[in-house]
Amino acid sequence: MPPSSHTPRSAPSDALVSFDNVTKRYGDLVVLDELQIDVAPGEKVAIIGPSGSGKSTLLRLLMTLEPPTDGVIWVDGEPLWHLRKGDALVPANDKHLHQMRMKIGMVFQSFNLFPHMTVLRNVTEAPIHVLGMKKAEAEAEARELLQMVGLEDKIGAYPGQLSGGQQQRVGIARALALQPKVMLFDEPTSALDPELVGEVLGVIRQLAQQGNITMLLVTHEMRFAREIADRVAFFDKGKIVEAGPPEEIFTEPKQERTRKFLKAVLEAG
């Protein structure tokens, strides 16, 4: 839990997600370094950068899997890891974190499906036990989501019986079932065989085109990032080196480090 020596400002009025001077350290290792970033409602932000630069950590702080060491994260006008107390911010309690998490969904690199549950139960588990939905209602909605990701015929299967691409599509349906305002994708296709990448990107593309959901997408798929992102942020050593519209970042990056990274990635890919 971050100490709140930080002077709080009010939430940025136009941003849905805002990192205000957020630092994350593991011991002496600075993973996020006074990070600043605002994400507008409905905006799709692609985060690119070398491995170990802190991209996953950014998402993990936002998903409340790890607390920041310092700074304030705002989500939908509320401090994520703090409670307002008069003019100050104090560390949040579990109840606050639980409420804030309602707004956020995450898709993991390694899927992290519940292996002992069927596909349908993976998707209905949270609606039933978190939202208190009736089983029949939750299942009806889960079927719709699974249809959207093209898996209506796998409802009774267990994750172990599915391909990686199918598992990741269930992972997306599971996250969407709680109707989050922000979806976090942490390299959703990195663990997949090349031939399965397309089906997962297809689902994410469809979601992006539907419009109003806000997305933070960490990815190495540069073409895809360019296609769906409103903005691309290049990340290095816990800082955003450069951010801007995809055409700008991919065709005329201002920073030398961005150029080098893109050159290396494009040559490798």
């Binding site: 899997l65 993991f108 992290n112 588990e125 949270a126 036990h129 978190v130 709680l178």
Partner: protein, 233 residues
């Protein structure tokens, strides 16, 4: 008659032969009745060992040091001291503190608590074997801590350690004769009483060994099959 022949005659069992089938059949019902006590003690103590063990494993993970440390201390103490001492303490010492337990109750508590400290370690291994990503996914879909345990973690942790838990139950079953030391007439105790009354220990103790084997061995085979099935899953 040689000296040896005289000796053989006086020490030979009544009935002449060494192993007496008639006597064995005669005492079998009594031994079976006592085996029921043994099995009852095992079943009740198992329920205690399996449930208390889980509770201890969960408490040992508590965020509160004031819970975690005493629980860890208790587990280490029980594991480092003989079961027979626990049994004597429960049956002979507790009454001095105003708590009088029947022999069977004291025996079952002693066995159950002792084995709970072993099963708690088994549960702990099972819980630690659940992938970190499962906790993260549970948080990401906003499950409560309680639902995370009951819906996600334990349903994966427990099946994985069922064979180990089963092995401890079998081990406990084989330790029930210790209860005779606090006057519970379980199967070994019954055999010993038969022996002292008839001066025929051979049939009684042989049958006890057979009876234990007939219960233990199929259980062990079953557990091996369970283990193999879990391994292929």
């Amino acid at each position: 008659m040689t000296h040896a022949q005289v000796l053989a005659q006086t020490t030979a069992p009544p009935g002449g032969t060494v192993w007496d089938w008639g006597f064995a059949l005669e005492i079998l019902p009594e031994l079976l009745r006592a085996l029921v006590v043994t099995v009852q003690a095992t079943v009740v103590a198992s329920v205690l060992a399996l449930s208390l063990g889980l509770a201890l494993a969960l408490l040992r993970r508590s965020k509160t040091v004031a819970i975690r440390l005493p629980v860890a201390g208790f587990i280490e103490f029980i594991r480092s001291t003989p079961l027979l001492v626990h049994l004597f303490f429960l049956f002979y010492a507790l009454p001095r503190l105003g708590i009088t337990l029947g022999a069977f109750t004291a025996g079952v508590i002693g066995l159950g608590v002792h084995y709970a400290t072993y099963t708690s370690e088994v549960y702990r291994a099972g819980i630690e074997g659940v992938a970190k990503g499962q906790w993260e996914a549970a948080t990401a879909v906003n499950l409560s801590p309680r639902r995370t345990w009951t819906g996600v973690i334990l349903p994966q942790a427990i099946p994985a350690v069922l064979p180990s838990l089963g092995n401890y139950i079998v081990a406990m079953f084989k330790e029930t004769p210790l209860l005779f030391a606090i006057t519970v007439i379980e199967v070994l105790g019954a055999a010993r009483i038969i022996g002292t009354q008839s001066f025929r220990y051979l049939e009684a103790f042989t049958l006890v060994g057979l009876l234990f084997f007939l219960v233990s061995y199929p259980s062990v085979l079953l557990l091996r099959r369970l283990e193999a099935r879990l391994a292929t899953k």
